[in-house]
């Protein structure tokens, strides 16, 4: 089965499940992902995902996978070590991130006088942005922006990285629905950690259940509506 386009033949439908080694198309296409590779004029998938065909563009939405840092990404990091002039931060990536004291403190500091543990200690969560990352350098984090910094209240929920786009939804529909229904503050970081801040313990529990539901059913359709009715049912059941 194939569809003819001006640029060549496409063997998959939009949003079709593809596996490593599946041939996607033949001809000349634009590819923006490392998860599609080319042999001659044939294009193959390299991972499990959903194929996205848009005229002459090919893409894959991964269904499995891990976080790969990108400059500008919002991430929630966990401090795992404190150095003399920097912190080592776990961001659930293949590489450990570094946060420099000069960046975090926003002033001159003297390593002899200043003990960095006063500001961030092992086990602290930090909301940060990735400022530098390439093939030869580990990611460097910055907290010089509005809303960034140490996380001192609320809870952190971890989900699979491949499910992050689903929690945000198309044009933020999913996350806006979650905020409206529960009244909680929600920050979704690109590395699959979600910071939630609720006034009510019951609502917090419902929100966590809803997030886990979205994670488990990420590849299905009509998820926003189903999650909305799930939250309403739970709220009614708990008398909220």
């Amino acid at each position: 089965m194939s569809t003819e386009t001006i640029k060549g033949k496409v063997y998959v439908e939009n949003r079709q499940l593809v596996l490593p080694g599946d041939q996607l198309a033949e001809g000349e296409f634009e590819v923006q992902t490392p998860y599609i590779y080319r042999v001659g004029n044939r294009y193959y998938s390299a991972i499990i995902g959903l194929a996205v065909v848009d005229e002459n563009k090919l893409n894959i939405i991964p269904l499995e996978g891990f976080y790969l840092p990108k400059v500008g990404d919002l991430v929630i990091g966990l401090i795992i070590d404190v150095g003399i002039t920097n912190w080592i931060v776990d961001i659930r990536a293949p590489y450990r991130a570094i946060m420099n004291a000069s960046d975090a403190l926003n002033r001159q500091f003297n390593p002899i006088q200043d003990d960095l543990r006063k500001y961030f200690d092992v086990g602290d969560y930090v909301l940060a942005k990735i400022s530098v990352f390439d093939r030869v350098h580990n990611p460097v984090l910055t907290i010089k922006d509005r809303g960034l910094g140490k996380i001192v209240h609320g809870r952190i929920i971890e989900i699979q990285v491949s499910k992050v786009p689903r929690v945000i939804g198309k044009k933020r529909t999913m996350i806006n629905m979650l905020i409206n229904e529960t009244g909680c503050d929600i920050v979704v970081a690109q590395n699959g950690r979600i910071w939630i801040n609720c006034n009510n313990k019951e609502l917090e529990d419902i929100l966590i259940l809803a997030l886990k539901k979205i994670e488990a059913e990420a590849h299905t359709t009509g998820l926003t509506d189903r999650t909305r009715s799930f939250i309403r049912e739970e709220k009614a059941r708990r008398g909220l």
Partner: protein, 244 residues
Amino acid sequence: MGKKIDIKLIREDGLRHDGRKPDELRPIRMEVGVLNNANGSALVEFGKTKVLAAVYGPRELHPRHMSLPDRAVIRCRYHMAPFSTEERKSPAPSRREIELSKVIREALEPVIFSELYPRATIDIFIEVLQADGGTRTTGITAASLALADAGIPIKDLVAGVAVGKVDGVLVLDIDQVEDEFGEADMPVAMMPTLGKITLLQLNGVLTPDEFKEALKLAEKGIKEIHRLQKEALRKRYVEIKLEE
């Protein structure tokens, strides 16, 4: 090899000692995502052979000096559980297991896009739970499923099967008895879509014509195994869809 035994490897009706036709695979079962702690995992059974594979990574490599600046290091451990054989096997890695770890690693390396993850490592663990011949090819089949499950980009799944020669007949997917008392054993692993061979070993003697015939037989088996691999990967997503 070639020792006299009581069992007839090829019976008078032309079938093998376990009732299979010469070109028939053993019953195969595959399950993906069986371990929670691993990034990717798979359990594969070929008849009585049962192999578990787990993949971790890409993750930071320790010791650091072993890391490569241009690609990820791929490490592979093939290990047989002490209870996997009839007589207890010492859990310490044997000469054979160290060699098979290397051979399996080399069968998987060409499919992994390791250059996307410089300075990192991808760890592959293959644990034989029950051995009845063909553990290395079952291990490769399981490991490639685990790699796909971990979301690591790979060119193609890798499927493997062993072809043997018993009583002068070429047979597909040989088991322990056929391996021990047969005349030849040839494990083959391939990237089925691209038609490329990543592992080819031969223990025993085959004529050039027999070799060509055996390779064709292996290819036929691998096509079937590849179909089952894809089915196993697809099943996870279809199952959740049905729950709606």
